[in-house]
Subunit: 599 residues, 2 copies
């Protein structure tokens, strides 16, 4: 019953008009990136998303994955869709040409991945995990391992997973029990149980390349003694083809709230052959390569689910007739007005829209930073991009996913009681959205990463650079006819960010609980300021286009209205977050732990 | 896997120490209300909730209701639990003794209903709907109808429903198509289709008394031409016992996101015998009696689900070992500290706790107002209570249910990945909680009710009276050693409420869209201020008890800590809501309706 259409026009506006990616021809992969080529690629991806993947979204949820004696089967239609996805080359879009990739910009890749996720979250996780695993292998494994595994992963013939969590150990990986015993031939035997392994077993690909964290006996205690291994489902034969079955199997799959079409597996490793990736005991660092990529990807899930939920709510609120506008009938011929006339329905729809368009802008801006960090010829540019990406990764992961839940909620709310019923599909979005604030590091962990690690790195260089960018934009638009009020509000919010940063410097050192207590509010301030930064960029582009004359006048005007809504109705939360943050940790920490148990 | 224990101690503290209900002996039903009696009743209710109802909560969700050829069967164990519930007299606890009720205070009834809802939401809806239907019949029907139906409804032998919604008509009841044709004998023949009828059909009671809204042909257009009817599932025979089957049947039940143990029915009326309740065409007013009761009940669902989710998260965060406190090991013997040591876990737990304890206080304060409005001998007291109940009903319905979703979210978040898995039961709370902001008038409709109807009634007498109460409390605690900082913050928030009220007066008349655009933010400000009002009351009681010496020292100290958390970490949102509200409706309304459709 739900539909999806790719937001290609907005993506083109953002990539070319706002970010000007065609001006970055000096970055490898950008040289051919003309609007025509980008538009052709996005159109193709959009077709796959709307016509192939989205029609499998509700049926995939309803049917789910099945597990029988260790064999996991994806829902009907998924195998065919996966084959089409791979044959059309989507898996290798942005990958390194040395291993068969097409080398196109990550910026473009993010635009495509938004579509795949929005149209079918559960499906999109299969290739998404492969991409993350391949990038970790590329960054840390030996040439031999890269040449052995990457080419088939880039075609999608083989898929990938990441195995971190164990029953007693999620966030705290130091508690890990999975062992890897070194063998005489330089390989390892991996033994242990991993849980919550997405796409851990399925029938879509010919081989599954598990990246597994494990401890080599005798290594350092805690998280400093963790190593990373490739453990293929099928051990490769002498020709590099999947041969005998490795000692890894899927013990069961979880019944869960949503994302039913992607199996969440218990994976049992029993002396499985494993191949070390990177150095012994340095596995966590190698896994971080994959996790940063994955965190940005999870942020995109928040955006994707928000977009598809918003689109369906837009259709419904334009069709559903109920009540009359308080300023006079808007549909006098009909028995009632469409509910989009009611201010509170507008509030929900505009909040959703201001989020999705702002977040899309921020994600693509971030994609450009990733491209610069990975590929730019100038080392200084790479370093600065690296700082910004490090700073913004937890912000995007946490804010986008919380807002994915919020927009799914608002869109479902627009349907009234019909939103709670399965057939309309809105409740699936709400169920699917809920995992994203939890996995790949809970949003609380993201906030601690921001405050505890990213903020202080290099004496705060990243946050200073970011605030300087925002300050520049505030100054550049402060006298603009239309945009001055928006710039003023962004300046206020930036002030809150500066004040919050100062408070953390002064109080977080003295009592680390203050930093922990402030973390989520601080992250939210930074998220709102960065959304404001990107919204002001979009508004400025729209205002400039309108001033010089454009064919897309309505589109540009709508950008200005939506920008204004963001600054007037969403950005003001920064002051509340600052007030909370400045209250410190006492009232949060004073209760005895067991007092929570007494009712 | 989940557990529930009734918050009896907190309820006793609120009813006797804070609200002093034993000082209201002049209200009928309160004369015997000693702490001993109340405590005995709450203990019994708590046992039923923890030992009988809660063990059926997860199994009821998993199994759901079944529909076969019009027959609906509740999940295994529900019939036995329902019989026990009725035989123990819980159905008639607060009901009018004239019809077999026990006449105990509604305040106490709310405390009991919190337990039933928290332990098993789907179950609690069956008796909850009966109570609402009985109260509407009592308030509006003839003596004959009352004597015919009420006694059996008060024992629970017969249950009740409310039938408003039709496929094309939810909020806008004026579009209703169900017809009631007058018959020569004074009865009516009701024909039409109603949807989303909770407990519309089931196997728990011997008869189901449907309250049905329908139009009598020839009556006024729109919502002014709606009448209310009793339509029993079985027509009564000459002895008043269920006889032949009436022309009403359940066409199907909905597959929905949650609350699986309570069937949501499509009800088909085909010339069913109906009996007019109240006057012709005045049905909506009669139904409002039931709806106000129901809205408070739905608010209690928000509180109930928050409480049970919080309790389970409290247990989990005390058990789950993961990471070390940033201020030094708290469990040095163990492999890691329990996660309750981490500030951000505390933030989630304290937010939940500050909501549940505050909301419980506000609900019981509201219960006392309901008792006064219904039973107080002094007409002026009744009138003032009526104003406050009218004002606060939409606030409680909307705020409590949004917070029910929020606390279910936070509690689920405390479980990490385990929160997303069925077996732990946390995802059920999240799914169940989601219906409450939708039904009984969406939360947007509640906000419009507050701003469009309640605020202006009697020249704003209700809101003025409410603000005077808060002002008094701020003044009374402004010089208190411990409480002055809290009173100061409440005073600030009250200022925001006053400023928002003023803004609405000045701008809502000029452009009604401004009122609509402001409604949800205004409601949230009022909710936070009323929570602050009740929190300051609780804190004052706790401080007084500590000053005079008490056996419950730890309990009272924890109240002060939790109060402080509320004022420091939750109340500050008022300033953000005021800023948004004052932005007006332009950026919300400026987009063309069809612009939402273009991507």
């Amino acid at each position: 019953m739900t539909t999806y259409s790719a937001p290609t026009r907005d993506q083109m506006f953002l990539m070319f008009d706002v970010l000007g990616i065609d001006k970055h021809a000096n970055i490898p992969g950008f040289d051919d990136m003309t609007p025509d080529l980008a538009s052709a690629i996005l159109d193709e991806a959009g077709k796959l998303a709307s016509e192939v993947l989205h029609p499998l979204n509700q049926s995939g949820d309803e049917e789910g994955c099945t597990w029988t004696d260790g064999v996991v089967t994806a829902p009907t239609g998924f195998k065919e869709a996966y084959d089409l996805y791979c044959q059309s080359g989507w898996q290798s879009l942005t990958a390194n040409p040395d291993f068969g990739g097409q080398g196109l910009p990550q910026t473009l890749g993010l635009a495509v991945s938004e579509m795949m996720i929005a149209s079918n979250w559960g499906f999109a996780m299969y290739p998404g995990l492969t991409k993350g695993a391949a990038e970790a292998i590329e960054a840390h494994a030996t040439e031999e391992l890269k040449n052995t595994y990457l080419p088939k992963m880039m075609t999608g013939e083989w898929s990938g997973t990441m195995n971190l969590t164990e029953p007693h150990c999620g966030t705290d990986l130091g508690l890990m029990r999975t062992r890897a015993e070194p063998q005489a031939d330089g390989t390892y035997r991996v033994t242990g149980t991993k849980i919550f392994i997405s796409a851990g077993e399925h029938d879509l690909s010919d081989n599954i390349i598990h990246l597994v964290l494990a401890k080599i006996p005798g290594g350092p205690e805690g998280s400093k003694g963790i190593s990373l291994f490739i453990v293929p489902k099928f051990i490769l034969d002498e020709n590099g083809n999947p041969g005998e079955r490795n000692g890894v199997s899927c013990g069961s799959i979880e019944k869960k709230m949503g994302v039913h079409s992607n199996a969440t597996c218990v994976m049992n490793y029993d002396e499985a052959a494993g191949y070390l990736v990177g150095e012994e005991h340095k596995g966590l660092m190698a896994m971080f390569t994959m996790m940063n990529e994955a965190r940005l990807g999870v942020g995109m899930q928040g955006l994707g689910v928000a977009e598809v939920a918003y689109q369906n709510a837009a259709a419904y609120t334009n069709e559903r007739l109920q009540g009359r506008s308080i300023t006079g009938k808007k549909n006098p011929e009909g028995p009632a007005d469409p509910i989009i006339v009611h201010p509170d329905v507008r509030r929900m729809m505009m909040t959703s829209r201001a989020f999705t368009e702002g977040a899309r802008g921020l994600a693509l801006w971030m994609g450009l930073q990733v491209d610069m960090l990975q590929r730019h010829p100038d080392e200084e540019v790479r370093a600065q991009a690296d700082d910004l990406v490090g700073l913004m990764t937890p912000v995007i992961k946490a804010y986008f996913t919380d807002m994915g839940v919020e927009v799914a909620y608002l869109s479902q709310q627009c349907y009234g009681g019909h939103g709670y019923i399965r057939e309309h599909g809105m409740e699936q979005f709400a169920r699917d959205a809920r995992i994203a604030p939890i996995y790949e590091g809970t949003n609380g962990i993201q906030a601690m990463d921001l405050v505890g690690r990213k903020l202080g790195a290099k004496n705060g260089a990243a946050v200073q650079a970011f605030m300087a960018l925002v300050q520049e934009s505030v100054a550049a638009n402060g006298d603009h006819d239309t945009l001055a009020p928006l710039a003023k509000r962004l300046g206020d919010a930036l002030g809150h960010l500066q004040q919050g940063t100062m408070w953390l410097l002064q109080n977080g050192m003295a009592n680390p609980d203050n930093a922990g207590a402030a973390a989520v509010d601080y992250l939210r301030i930074m998220a709102l300021v960065s959304m404001g930064y990107v919204w002001l960029m979009q508004a400025r582009t729209a205002a400039d286009k309108l001033a010089e004359g454009t064919e897309n006048e309505a589109f540009m005007k709508n950008k200005l209205i939506t920008a204004r809504f963001f600054f007037e109705r969403m950005l003001p939360d920064t002051i509340a977050h600052l007030t909370k943050l400045e209250a410190g940790s006492e009232s949060m920490m004073d209760l005895d732990a067991d007092a929570f148990l007494a009712s």
